[in-house]
Amino acid sequence: MSIQTMTTAKSFVDLYAAEKARLPGADLPWLAALREQAAARLLELGLPTARMEQWRYTPALANRIGTVSFTEGGLEAIGGHTGLELGDSTRISTRIAWQDGRIAGPAAALPALPFLKIRSLETLLAEDPDLAHPALAADAESESAMALLNLALLRDALFVELGETEARPLLWSRQEASGGLANTRLQMTLQTGAAATLVEEIDSRAGLSNRRTTIALADGTSLRHVILLGEGQDATDLGEMQLRLGRDARYSVFLRYGGSGLARQAIDIDLTAPGAEAQINGLYLLGGRAHGDLTSHIRHQAPGTSSTTLFKGVLDDRARQVFRGKITVEAGAARSDGRMSNKTLLLSDKAEIDSKPELMIFHDEVQCAHGATSGKLDEQALFYLRSRGLPLEEARKLLIRSFLSEAAEGAEALRDLPVGDLLIDKQLQRLGQ
């Protein structure tokens, strides 16, 4: 185990130099070269700072990371318990548990079904390195410091291939980290006719988790995705996700920000063919000094594509939430429809919302709109409820809940997991509301 203070890109690159011989695939020249390239570029680029537009409202990383260890990690299977139950227990479901950046349990235990192939990094490198190569090579060229860091020190990854099936398999991935650097990678492809639900829970107690996700949705596929961010206390959780949607593919994601550390999720969605549809719904309920960040970019690249984003939340104490939502309609993407809305209730004068809903339109035949509001609880509604006999606290809770429920109720991603209310209640309790 090596413990170092991570404040600069250099400290991570030094860590890489010390560990590289022990990383998976160290004996594969192409992978070693890509890692080397990534480390060099990371050094050049530096860690993200608030001066970069993409990180404008999220404080310089170096200050938040503090001490990070790159531990050996436990290979014991962990029984993470979420308190959330599956809506339909008869479906094919798979749980994947991560501990400190590694898939817990022996790799062979990952199920292999005719239409579903799940492999770890080491298995994939042994069986099918060509599948890993393109995405890793792309990361080595990335402008994102976090992607470069991820590649340089990547210890494990999950590769999911899903073929056509009547069933809608449910994949449940739970990541725990005890204070180290947890670089994880999830690469998922849905082949034509496939449909799936993916639930990701991130529960780091401390340290830095740096998650990288790439998802390719072929024509006519559907993915429902639930991301429960940052249950942990002082952890820094950074996720970057890239998606490509083919013709008539549907992607919906529901995000919940609820921890007390820093959680940032970046989502890049390319709607590459007609009929592709994306929906982002999200909630944030933050207190203490928690910091949440959703940075999304939806590119309408083909005619007849549509997207909606609805992001709502409540901020108390000194909590801060960032929403940077961008919709681009590229030239030729006729009849695109893009909508985006961000609404916030501020419960404290020390809380802060920074919202940047952005439209970049390069085609005239479009319908795009965005809205953003922030304010406090509606005094009149509060008074009305109290005049009907509800105690103040109850009335507040009721209003907050109804404000938030819009984002959960309309979420396609929660269709199999009607847990919106549960998530809201749990968090309200935690915030003492």
Binding site: P357, L359, D364
Partner: protein, 489 residues
Amino acid sequence: MAISVETARQVKELERYKYGFVTDIEADTAPKGLSEEIVRFISAKKGEPQWLLNWRLKAYEQWLSMPEPDWAQLSFPPIDYQDAYYYSAPKQASDGPKTIGDVDPKLLETYEKLGIPLHEQEILAGVQERSNIAVDAVFDSVSVATTFKHKLEEAGVIFCSISEAVQRCPDLVRRYLGSVVPVGDNKHACLNSAVFTDGSFVYIPKGVRCPMELSTYFRINAANTGQFERTLIVADEGSHVSYLEGCTAPMRDENQLHAAVVELVALDEAEIKYSTVQNWYPGDADGVGGIYNFVTKRGACRGCNSKISWTQVETGSAITWKYPSCILQGEGSVGEFHSIAITNNHQQADTGTKMIHLGPNTKSRIISKGISAGRSSQSYRGLVKISPKAHGARNHTQCDSLLVGDSCAAHTVPYIESRNAEAQVEHEATTSRISEDQLFYCRQRGIPEEQAVALVVNGFCRDVLQQLPMEFAVEAQKLVGISLEGSVG
């Protein structure tokens, strides 16, 4: 009057941009290029006091090391600051104070042609259409005439060129110059601070309602010349002023730089209404030539219940980079931004506003209407910031973009930062193309297509057009139609 008609293309362009002529007048011009000597030259020409020269030199020094702002959605080759003239004045106008009678008839003729009357007698006699507007006419680097000075003086209003104000009321100028837009605010404002040559100064004393509309008309005439005017308006307690600004330039193949700074200060209960119709030469249909309009405009609502309202109709310039803003310090102060921006052909505009809410119960309203046509590109960029002390602050933003044709682009880039639970912020934005249904409906009623576009766009802009003083509103409405010519069919 020599009109530069070099090619048939330009002749055709002339029909569209009717202000594209050049006045042939002898000019007093500083050597080309930018240096400390030029800064000293300008200051000496104006007979400025030492403090102002020092202020300019400090700005120049800072400018040298400042980076160009690069965050706007604009693309243009790097500016060669050494390839421009920084001072050009019509010969006779540069020699001290003047009355209308002394102004070169050629200049009077120029302004007449632009529709800006400088003959007070005629205006008073009702010969001219526009009445009750006092005009400060700025030609290239200097103010050539200011009308109705005496009538304004009776009311205690000071309205003169800023060069004159430096001599007449140096204390006022010194107290407020650079107090809203600091020297190092951005590279363009910094350049202006170093080399500004003229502009208008307005002081409205306590409790005075300015008896007439004030107006400055900016005209770039000389070739290869940048215009760097500086406007400072101070509205003392309980006063009220409405100020109009218009601009045109000849058609030239090279790009000319216009880097102005406008500072507004409103004290307790004071109100400033600032309206602009910007019609600088936009370049030709192929994107050759046109003005680079890099302007820093900012108002400080320092007093309680003060109000600053910006209204702009931006139709000209090859590139517009402009964000008229309000700093809402005084309790209950109000900031407004009403904007119409139209880009056609190859024009680019990146414009918007900042509303900085510092004081309690401050209010701001933003209405932005952007129309992109041809191959043009336009961005609304705005910031609404609610500071922790701005209890009860409110903002409402409505930001609509209209696209005419399939080769243009429209972007909306708002930043909303709220740090107060008692504040209420609302932002709405839409982007859509001009409605085929509306155009067809108009045409079915016999209205030709181009006229139909102008009609629908005018309707789209109505909320902003209503904010303009009557004289400007009519002109602006026509301008909307003219600016969109050739955008359909």
